[in-house]
C-alpha cells in the first residue's frame, strides 16, 4: 500500500470516527432492552421479602436463596407448573407425530393421489397466520356449545392444534433435500417399508423432527391466550401467574421463570454445539 493511500484511509477514519459507533451502540441498546426484564426476574428471584405477605417487591432487601429452597411452597403455583409441563409433553408428542406424518404426505404425494393438496397448504399457512385469539375464542364457543368440560383434554386439543403446523413446516424443510434413492437402497437391501422408515428415513430427518418438537414444546409451555380461554379449573403456569397478579406475585414465580429460562438457554447452547460438531 502506498503512503498516499494510507493517509487517505487515516483521513477517512478520522472524519467518520464517531458515526461508526452508532449502529453497534444501537444494537447493544436493543439487546439490553430485550434482556432487561429477564435480568430483573433473575436478580429479584434472590431478593429477600420483608413484611407479612410473601410477594414480590422491587425494593432490594438483601440476597437470599430462600425462594429456591421453598420453590414448592405455593401449592397453586406448583400445580400450575406441573400441569404446564405435562401439557407441553403430551401436546409435543402428539403434534410431533402428526406433524411429521403430514410433512411426509405433503412432500411425497401430489394430486391425483393427494387431492386438495393446495387447499391443505393454504390451511397450514392460515393456521400459522391467524391470530391466536380467533382459535381461542372459536374453540371456547365450540366447547361451550357442545357442553364439553374445559380442562386438560381441551388444553391438549388446542395446543396440538397450534403447534402441529410448526412441526409440519420444520420437518418438511428437512425432507425437501432428502435423497429418495436412500430409501430405494434400503428396499433393495431387503428392508420393508416400515423398517426403511425406522432405519433410514426417520434417522435422517431426525434433526428436523427434533427442531419441530422443541418448537412445539416452547409454544405450548408459554401459551397464554388460547390456554386462558380453555383452561377452566386447571390453569397452566402462564394463566395462573396472570391470575395471581390481582393479589400480588409470590417470589416463586421468578424462580420458575428463571428455571424455564435456564432450560431454554441450555437447549439453545446444546443445539449450537451439536450443529458445530456436525459441521466439522
Amino acid at each position: 500500500m502506498s503512503t498516499i493511500e494510507q493517509e487517505q484511509m487515516a483521513g477517512a477514519s478520522k472524519r467518520r470516527r464517531w458515526t461508526r459507533a452508532i449502529l453497534p451502540t444501537y444494537s447493544w441498546l436493543v439487546i439490553a432492552y430485550l434482556v432487561f426484564p429477564i435480568i430483573v426476574m433473575i436478580v429479584y428471584s434472590f431478593n429477600k421479602v420483608v413484611g407479612g405477605m410473601q410477594l414480590v417487591s422491587f425494593t432490594w432487601n438483601g440476597f437470599t436463596t430462600q425462594w429456591y429452597r421453598e420453590w414448592s411452597n405455593v401449592p397453586g403455583l406448583t400445580q400450575a407448573f406441573w400441569l404446564s409441563i405435562r401439557l407441553a409433553i403430551v401436546a409435543t408428542i402428539i403434534s410431533t407425530v402428526l406433524g411429521t406424518l403430514l410433512a411426509i404426505a405433503l412432500v411425497r404425494y401430489r394430486p391425483p393421489q393427494f387431492r386438495g393438496k393446495m387447499l391443505f397448504e393454504q390451511t397450514i399457512f392460515l393456521n400459522i397466520a391467524a391470530p391466536e385469539i380467533v382459535m381461542g375464542a372459536s374453540l371456547l364457543g365450540l366447547f361451550v356449545t357442545l357442553n364439553i368440560a374445559r380442562g386438560f383434554l381441551t388444553l391438549v386439543l388446542a395446543h396440538v392444534m397450534f403447534s402441529v403446523t410448526y412441526v409440519v413446516v420444520t420437518v418438511r424443510a428437512r425432507l425437501a433435500g432428502f435423497d429418495r434413492s436412500l430409501e430405494e437402497a434400503a428396499y433393495d437391501l431387503g428392508a420393508r417399508p416400515l423398517v426403511t422408515f425406522g432405519r433410514v428415513t426417520l434417522p435422517l430427518i431426525m434433526p428436523g423432527v427434533l427442531a419441530g418438537a422443541l418448537m412445539a414444546f416452547a409454544l405450548s409451555i408459554d401459551d397464554f391466550i388460547t390456554s386462558n380461554f380453555l383452561s377452566g379449573a386447571a390453569a397452566p403456569f402462564p394463566v395462573w401467574v396472570y391470575g395471581a397478579t390481582r393479589v400480588g406475585i409470590p417470589p416463586q414465580v421468578f424462580v420458575f421463570g428463571t428455571a424455564i429460562f435456564a432450560v431454554g438457554i441450555a437447549f439453545a447452547i446444546m443445539s449450537i454445539v451439536m450443529s458445530r460438531r456436525h459441521a466439522e
Partner: protein
Amino acid sequence: MANRSEKGAGRSRVATLESADVEFVHVTKAFSDVKAVDDLNLRINDGEFFSLLGPSGCGKTTSLRMLGGFEEPTMGTILLGGQDVTNLPPYRRDVNTVFQSYALFPHLNVFENVAFGLRRSKVEKSEIRRRVGEMLELVDLPHLEKRQSAQLSGGQQQRVALARALVNQPKILLLDEPMSALDAKLRRQMQIELKRIQGQVGITFLYVTHDQEEAMTMSNRIAVMWRGRIEGMGTPKEVYDSPATEFVASFLGASNLLAGSIDSSDASRTVVAIAGGARMVVPSERVPDLGGAREVKVGVRPEKIEIAAGAVEVPANHNSLTGRVRVSSFTGVGNQYIVETTVGVDVTVYAQNIGQQSAPRSGEEVTLTWPVEHTFVVKPMPQAVVLEETEGE
C-alpha cells in the same frame, strides 16, 4: 466363469445360482404417453457381465429399475431364475443394486452400510462380521470400517456401494452408471477392478452405461438401446464389427456410412450400388433382414481402411474409393484423415502410427481400400428420426 460355483462354495445361494438368469418377456414401460421401454425381450445368462448401452433417455435405466423392482412394467413379464418377479417389491427380490449416486446411508458407518442387507435377513452377528470383513477385503477397503460415508472419496464410496450390494450374494447385481461420478483415470482403474471382482464372486452383472468404451471393456455381451428398443446385441466384437442398424454403427465407435441400394445378391456376396457411382461388395451374412427394401447404407470403420497416395492397384476381395485428403491430423498414436471421395461423401480414415515413411498430406490424391469382410450393411434410419434425435440432445 465356468468354475464360479466352486469359488462360491460355502455360500448359501450356490445351489440356486445354477438356474439364475434374467428374462424380459415383451416388457413395455410407458410414462403417460411416452414409451420409455418398448417391447423389450432380453435374456441374460448366468454369470454373465451384460451391459445395456445407449444415450440418455433410451430406456436402459428404466429397464434396470424394472428388474430392481423400482418401476412396474406396463406390460410384459420379468423372470428371475425362472420365477416371475414382475410385481414383487424390491425387498422381496434376490437382486441388489449399485446406485448412480451410490446412495450410501449417511448416518451409518462403512461397516453398518455393508451390513445393512445382512441385518435385514437376520444373519447371525458373527456371520455378519465375517462376511462384511470379507467383502471389504474384496473391494480393498478393509481399514475403513469405522468411517462415515461422508468422509470417503468418490472411488471409496463406490467400492462401499459395491460391497453393500454384493455381500447379499444376489442372483444378479444391477449397476446404474456407477462410474459417471469418477474422473477418467479412476474410471479406467475401476473398470479393471470391477471385472476382477465379478470374476471372483461369479455373480451375474447387469451394467447400465452410456459410455461405449466402458461397456466394451468389461462386458461379455452388450445390448445397444435406443428409443426404448434394443438396436443390436451380441459380444462387443460382434456389435462393433457388424452393427445391426445405422444407430448402432454411429453410436458405437465411428462409422463411415454410404447410402446406396442393393444391386445383386447371392448366398455369399451382395453388391451395393453407392449413390455416387461406386460399387461395394459385402458378405451376404452381413446384410440384415431388410424386409424387401433395397435402400441401405454401406459401412466401414475408419481404422479398417488403408490409405495410400495416388492410384494404387486394389487387392482382390477389397472395396475401394478414391478421393482427395481434406484434413490430415496427427494424434500421436495415429493419423486421422478426412477424405473427400469421388462419390461425394467425406470418409474418415484412421491410420495407426506404425512408422510409415510418408503420410499423405492434405490436398493429396489418395486411394482407400479395405477388405470385403470388414464391410457391413445397415438399414438406414428415417430422416425424420435423425432430426428429432439431434434436437433432443
